[in-house]
Symmetry: C2
Subunit: 347 residues, 2 copies
Amino acid sequence: MHISELDTPALTVDLDVLERNINNMAALCREIGINLRVHTKTHKAPEIAKMQVAAGSQGITCQKLGEAEAMVDAGLEDILIPYNIVGKRKVRRLTQLVKRAKMTVALDSETTAEGISEQAQADGCSMRVLIEMDTGSRRCGVQSPQAVLELAQKVTNMPGLDFQGIMTYPSNVRAKPFIEEAVDLLSEAGMPINIISGGGTGSEQASKDIGCTETRSGSYVYEGMTRISGSATLNPERCALRMIVTVVSTPTDDRIIIDGGAKTFTSYPPTPYGHVVGHPDIKIHGMSVEHGHIDVSESQHKFRVGERLAVIPLHQGMTSNLHNELVAVRNEQVEAVWQIAGRGKVK
Amino acid sequence: MHISELDTPALTVDLDVLERNINNMAALCREIGINLRVHTKTHKAPEIAKMQVAAGSQGITCQKLGEAEAMVDAGLEDILIPYNIVGKRKVRRLTQLVKRAKMTVALDSETTAEGISEQAQADGCSMRVLIEMDTGSRRCGVQSPQAVLELAQKVTNMPGLDFQGIMTYPSNVRAKPFIEEAVDLLSEAGMPINIISGGGTGSEQASKDIGCTETRSGSYVYEGMTRISGSATLNPERCALRMIVTVVSTPTDDRIIIDGGAKTFTSYPPTPYGHVVGHPDIKIHGMSVEHGHIDVSESQHKFRVGERLAVIPLHQGMTSNLHNELVAVRNEQVEAVWQIAGRGKVK
């Protein structure tokens, strides 16, 4: 089927670009000498995760337990959840996953560690654990290298837990003193560190430089507009994702309306929300819930109702999260329709 | 099951509040003397749409064709789609729906009208049509009363189309001269107007005053924080929606992290993203993808990892659109789990 036959809005991925992005990142990490553990938050599609693992990623990262379950269901075997898993119901699901895949989980408190330890004991399994550090992002994470050591010692002494190392996000030069001191303290205490996990896309060399053993790069897979806009030249050819939309109204000469709005693209500013391929002179300046508002006053093109446009969404991960299906395309032909199986798995 | 047993984040609706909101709006519209045709965009749940119809709504409104299909599948029988349905594939789906329910559709161009007319003829059915007007919102809609008349005449002359009236959004006093002139022109031309459709929540009296016969009120069903914040007193008791979340990290004394972020609540500013029930002195000041960041520096309460909070989301429709299920609760007991069947039906 040609993409012109797809009903709209249709979320599509160009397989040539996708494969190139995946291979380029795998090659970059090999060259740098850092393990790649791709973050699946951007696509949430098991088929793409499998392509990434086949290209050399040593496993995957899922931010939520429900996403990890979806990935294990699809056959993924090595998953890091860099997120505090809290609550009896959740911890029970986590220990069930340990029976089906190699699971590692990050945590930043004794309370979280105890909850996992208790359930792991009850289920007779062992849970691989990283300590999450706050090296400047002011989100989760213990606040000092000394606190890393103290929590690592507690984890080591809790039955059912297997201390594996440390993690942070993002990994930049500011994190270096924190990480080095934590590593020193852990080494002095005779505690082995197998993993120092950092991320994400764009910080692979920085992660290596500050001592990380792995990078949780994710957004590179589609190559987002945000990162590309920051560089000198906008190059849509590197962006794998396209939303195919239809012009549904041309009410005035300076404005057209497309059939995708905030519930198709996300409503998160800043404008222009996305880049309309082939029309650098038009601008998506507004999103109501189901309408996209485009300013065409600078364009010479005469847009018609029924005309189709391809939009590179500004926020590729947030956009993917709104859709159930991803249409895999090569040379404008549909090759497959993939389930975004991790979508909506917020629990 | 008590709500404390729900895994989090869990999107819940309080049935007592929901029923009160539904009954109050139905009563208000009866009092004003305007038909209510509820907009389902806020909840996208057929069970709630049925409650609204049972309370007196003369039918429902769906912004997208896929949502209308989900509602017809669930047994809803009278649906307005105030949206240009464009493209062969979509128009075919629309005419299929006409065989199963009383359907009305809005349009603003001859091209859209022709597409529907052709398919309606091919399928031997008749499609009820409203003309969409741009009375100031600068979205879709014809630009003048004269343009309403011209398009209405074309629609009337197209086989398979049944001209029913006009629609606008929003309906406020600015729209009055436009609507009155359009009505005059149509009346002079001997064209009957059965429906003048306006919306939404909060503009019921204004809609009546400017001549509308029906109001497409939607957000009243949950009673959003946005509207309530605008009034003199914040009254969370009127808000039916609650996201039950868990505190997963308490990294510093002034900050806690909950297990819901932009993919649970939407990322759309402005802060505070939502109101934490029972804690007026704490503020959700940030959302990363899966973490909600709360400033607790003004609170005397000592938050613990594992503690559960109930959050009224700022954007109730956008939030609902991220979830597959809605947990219906009364007196903190789970009564049902409803599918948000219209979610993700962007096509």
